[in-house]
Amino acid sequence: MNAKDWKILLVDDEREFITTLAERLELRGIPARVAFDGESALEAIAAEEPHVVILDVLMPGIKGLEVLERVKRTNPLVQVLLLTGHGSTRDGIEGMRLGAYDYMMKPLNIDTLIEKMESAIDYAKKAAALPGKSDG
């Protein structure tokens, strides 16, 4: 799949951070939508079924791990990359147990992020090809 066909959702309450990250991805030909809280992230996921969700673990309202759990129940083939800080690496590890594809520490390296998104999309394609996995 071409990067321009990827469907990426970025979720963080740090508006400047996440909108700038979306802009940088778009400059690289990767379309990205943004959501600023868990509630609107869940709505966007239900409406658009993104391939990959980049999700901050510490947000006001519905926390990242709760969003992850709900996504994995309703859209198991949507791959989730968690954003953690030094104090929330335990959340990253817990997130992996709950089905996150991987986690990354802030501040991000954009090249590493893109590599992880590509690898998550490859993983989702392979998972979708397995018997019994019709969604995604």
Binding site: E14, E16, F17, T20, L21, E23, R24, L27, L58, G85, H86, G87, S88, K106, P107, L108, I110
Partner: protein, 208 residues
């Protein structure tokens, strides 16, 4: 103890915010770098601009290391069932002590340590004891020297070594008596390094 845990929670929350600030600076400077790369031919000050972005990137890296060490410090008063990671505790302490060492024109060097080595102490206790040893060493070291610290395993114990002033000279340091008293309270052994040089702190082994 309660106040240390409270301050730790406050500091941990602040370091999380600092990480968000650094992440935003990195993305914004990254965006400027991207845009510059797309239009540098028509921009007269491109080189100066690139240099400025390079400085921003370096400072973000510097801030990341500091917030990581500060975050470790914030959680250091917490009791962990597995005990404290000796290498991580000493690494955070050394990182946060560089500035006070620099005031005496002393540079601190941490040798690559034995990973995964633990002690029954809390991280804050390891940092407190090694910090007291560091202060004593800085008190007697001549200005403009280098002080090497290393974390090793000796006979199953976690050991922190400071290679620097002679052991007898160290005993004349201003903070020596306080260090001896603290070591006694925490069950840390103190002795001279090889050839009577430097100081070795032997930390209590982790609970089985």
């Amino acid at each position: 103890m309660r106040d240390a845990l409270f301050m730790g929670r406050m500091t941990a929350s602040a370091t999380h915010e600092l990480q968000n600030i650094l992440a935003t600076i990195r993305e914004s400077s990254g965006l400027m770098d991207d845009l510059l790369a797309m239009s540098s031919e028509g921009f007269a000050h491109a080189e100066r601009f690139k240099k400025g972005l390079g400085v921003l990137a370096e400072q973000v890296e510097r801030g990341m290391i500091l917030t990581e060490q500060l975050n470790f410090c914030a959680h250091a008063p917490e009791k962990s069932p597995a005990g404290a990671d000796v290498n991580e505790s000493v690494r955070a302490l050394v990182g946060l002590s560089r500035r006070s060492a620099a005031r005496k024109k002393t540079s601190l060097v941490l040798a690559p340590g034995r990973a995964g080595l633990r002690t029954s102490l809390r991280a804050v206790e390891v940092m407190d004891a090694v910090g007291a040893a560091l202060e004593a060493a800085l008190d007697v070291l001549p200005i403009g020297t280098q002080l090497m610290l290393s974390v090793e395993e000796q006979g199953g114990l976690g050991v922190v070594r400071l290679d620097g002033p002679g052991y007898e000279t160290l005993q004349q340091a201003k903070g020596w008596n306080a260090l001896v008293a603290l070591a006694k309270t925490l069950g840390i052994g103190l002795c001279a390094g090889p050839g009577g040089m430097g100081l070795v702190l032997s930390l209590p082994r982790p609970a089985a």
